[in-house]
Amino acid sequence: MKGEMKARVHVTLKNGVLDPQGKAIGHSLNRLGFAEVGDVRQGKFIELELAETDTAKARARLDEMCRKLLANTVIENYSIELVG
């Protein structure tokens, strides 16, 4: 059975890596009159349903998914959260 556990993964660019999307968003917000906006960074947010009940195992598997596919560890960090 799938969907017994839910995971939320955040993938963000490492510090020092240029973020063209974040920069463009910041720029646009400033031009739209949101002068209070400073640095903007854009990342990804991935929600997964997992057919797994063991939290520790789920976490280990998610870690593997992130390293293998979800994040490019040359330029990105990731963080994993398990819910329900």
Binding site: P20, L69, I75
Partner: protein, 229 residues
């Protein structure tokens, strides 16, 4: 020269590069489906352009994990030349065969049109039919071609002559006016350390006939024929 072209779900310039290779070699390259972990011996592996797996998540990320790429990594380690064009460059980079990464274009838009490139070296399998410093006109068509690498990597690339092409203006000047996507130091194409793997964002395969975009890209394929036949 025997060439093999990989085909992923979502590849779409495999036909264009096959046509270009056939034009210079007179023979049809073999097309390799992404699920095939093994394929015939070949002199050159081409990873073509397109939107493999929709370019979802990160361009090239899902294709880099396919069975066929495991085989490509193995063969590249044995010295079989690999050419990654556009999405192929992204895939090869995600697969760890080339340093750096390709990010969203600075202006966040897909861009298609001719660009000028300065050939940085003629000392390679891929560029021996060009002159170093020569300016050529070739099209680009991508949304994520903004090459990025950290300072250490860039220094190594420069020191070892691993930069293949840079975007430039029509007179060869390297400045922002000729840079279509924000690539760091105008880098359009790079080699691995042994110069047996090359990735580039522009499409030399769409510049091989005078009536259809000019023929400045042809010498790249002729270089390979020269080196590999």
């Amino acid at each position: 020269m025997k060439a093999a072209i990989l085909v992923f779900p979502g590849s779409n310039r495999e036909g264009d590069v096959a046509k270009a290779i056939e034009l210079v070699t007179g023979r049809k390259p073999q097309m390799i489906w992404h699920g095939d972990g093994d394929f015939e011996k070949t002199d050159l592996i081409v990873v073509p352009g397109g939107f493999s797996y929709g370019d979802y998540l990160r361009c090239g990320a899902m294709a880099a994990q396919s069975p066929v790429m495991a085989e490509v990594r193995k063969r590249a380690a044995q010295g079989v030349p690999v050419l990654g064009i556009c999405n192929g460059f992204q895939i090869v980079t995600e697969a760890g065969l080339l340093p750096g990464t390709l990010m969203r274009n600075e202006k966040l838009k897909f861009i298609c049109g001719d660009v000028h490139l300065r050939v940085e070296t003629s000392q390679s399998l891929f560029t021996n039919r060009y002159q170093a410093g020569q300016v050529v006109k070739v099209p680009v068509a991508h949304a994520e071609g903004n090459y990025f690498a950290d300072e250490d990597t860039l220094k190594k690339l420069e020191d070892r002559g691993q930069i293949a092409f840079r975007y430039c203006s029509s007179d060869g000047t390297i400045d922002t006016s000729g840079n279509p996507n924000g690539s760091i130091r105008n880098i359009a194409g790079v080699f691995n350390e042994t110069k047996t793997v090359m990735g580039l964002m522009p499409h030399p395969e769409n510049a091989v006939e005078p009536m259809f975009g000019g023929s400045d890209g042809k010498a790249l394929f002729e270089s390979l024929v020269e080196a590999l036949s």
